[in-house]
Symmetry: C2
Subunit: 332 residues, 2 copies
DNA sequence: TTGTAAGCGTTATCAC
DNA sequence: GTGATAACGCTTACAA
């Protein structure tokens, strides 16, 4: 069907090796005219390298295999893939994502990926979590992205939630806010860590939180749980020591908090500053007023993952926390 | 490195062919004990099929190659991939996405995909558009998803924008609304078609639009253009014949319209019904009140694409319009 | 500068 | 039932 090296060799009256050298071998020496002629014939025949054939020879396909643990659902999570892709491309590698969904377990999906003999393999989670990888699987995974391998057997790249919460809290304090409430995501690692950063930073400033409340009754990812935001915000704003700032578990929560504050008649940021996490761009930039939020380092995690996989470096810490970036808009 | 059939054959004291038959050949006849023994050894050695080797033999890798024309940016557009993936999986095919971005042209990305010798190839756009595929490329693409090949050389799967707008318009009329305005996305194929459906349906009912206005100054995808929503909504609501319903170009526009209506002091849906397109779930379901909107058939397009590619059917129309689905919430 | 030949892991053909 | 053996398209020693 598709043209092969031998087709070209035959047409050009040279050996296969010469064709291979002309098309792929960068430094192979041969007359320029032979090379030019071969290239011309290749074009004419519509020759496209057969990577499968090369792969069987070399033992691997130019791929980075990614096992993604939830169907890619969050818009910013695709940033992980973009980061990987950009960095992989400079090494002439393509990124190959296989989703873990339904009742497929990590082991079988990882095996499915490995059947393609990727050059390297990564595991990516769509939200920050702890993952228990069976030991025999762990050695087949080069790096974990947006999640931490529970026993520290695999290099894990995660967002530095605590530092982000600390930075945003400091930002609120610097803006003169003193009575800060936190409406958080319950039951999530990210939420817990953000809460720690929030509390400790406030404590350092000699302050106590006005309140720390859950945005929903159950974990936001596990269920379309009923929202508690409206009742919490109403109660907070009616209290004597009502907050002058609300920190939100993420941008979606912030969106609901905006709606709740409007109902209550509070204005942002005059009455209450609102700040958040994620920088889910379509929400954060379109809210009124645009939302000040900490941007997740998804792209950076993807890029760093590719670099680690390509460097095959050994040493270094197993858990690496990447910084968020403060995106100032007008809600603080 | 990785175990191969011959490693297993050696250990088991049988020929390679026997091993291959035992592990892959469904109907190959051999003693059950031989088969069991071989499987055991394969497990022990951690054998994983080498698809590259199989691929060089068969001429193709079990992949559906997808060229995606914008970096996957919209959260619901990943639904296309999910739909493809689900349908491809039943044929034991994996989906391999390669993004068109930066200054890479369709031809070179398509070639990059074809180097992997996919079983079939598709082109997917992240928003509904017309695409001009060079003729020599067109024959290498099995199906276009969410876009139409300009010359009708390739089967193209697109959302039926006109029908969706017609249905939503009828829905508004059925709810007793008579003075409908449309705040649309300018310069987009989807927007233009929706406008046609809107206008003709209204005309059939003997009505005229209160207004048809652009949400932004320029096409929403081409630029972070300044929003016109607030000024339009303010003007509309102050006019004598103010609308009792606003149809929105998409859910993001709807989000801004909500904010604008709140500013103006209009309540949804009592004063004004709001309806939209896309069903961008995180926005539509979290707005207050939750938004009634037409869900794009992304998943269905992906699924149908896989079916078409696998069936390799010839006939049938080149342009196939898939229906949206009305998602009723509480904004109408 | 070019050709020959071996080998990668798989599947398929054909004889035993 | 099973075992050699060839073939797929490519890369790479080794020769010429």
């Amino acid at each position: 069907m598709a043209a092969s090296l031998s087709d070209i060799a035959e047409r050009a009256g040279v050996s296969i090796k010469t064709v291979s050298g002309a098309l792929h071998g960068g430094s192979a020496r041969m007359s320029d005219e032979t090379r030019a002629k071969i290239k011309e014939i290749a074009d004419e025949l519509g020759y496209v390298t057969n990577l499968a054939a090369r792969g069987v020879r070399q033992g691997w396909l130019p791929l980075i295999g990614v096992v993604a643990d939830e169907l890619i659902t969050s818009p910013f999570a695709t940033e992980i893939i973009r980061g990987l892709d950009g960095a992989a491309r400079s090494a002439e590698l393509a990124v190959f994502v296989m989703n873990l969904g339904g009742n497929r377990d990590v082991g079988s999906v990882l095996e499915e990926v490995r059947r393609f003999r990727p050059r390297a393999t990564a595991f990516a989670a769509m939200y920050h979590k702890t993952v228990a990888l069976p030991p025999e699987l762990a050695k087949n995974v080069g790096v974990m992205i947006n999640c931490r391998e529970v026993d520290g057997r695999v290099i894990s790249l995660v967002p530095d939630e605590e530092a982000a919460a600390a930075e945003m809290t400091r930002h609120l304090l610097a803006a003169g806010r003193r009575r800060v409430a936190f409406i958080n995501l319950p039951g999530l690692l990210a939420g817990d860590l953000r809460e720690q950063g929030f509390r400790s930073t406030l404590a350092e400033a000699g302050l106590a939180p006005v309140a720390v409340l859950p945005a929903v009754r159950r974990a936001i990812y596990s269920d379309r749980a009923p929202s508690l935001v409206l009742s919490h915000v109403t109660a907070l704003m009616q209290a004597a020591d009502r907050p002058d700032a609300i920190l939100c578990g993420n941008d979606r929560v912030a969106m609901e908090i905006y709606a709740a504050l409007r109902r209550v008649g509070a204005s942002i940021p005059d009455d209450v500053a609102v700040a958040s996490f994620d920088n889910q761009i379509e929400i954060a930039s379109r809210l009124d007023p645009p939302l000040t939020t900490m941007a997740l380092p998804h792209r950076a995690m993807g890029r760093l993952a590719a670099e680690i996989l390509l460097a095959e470096e050994a040493g270094g810490p197993m858990l690496r926390k990447l910084p968020f970036q403060l995106v100032e808009r007008s809600s603080v």
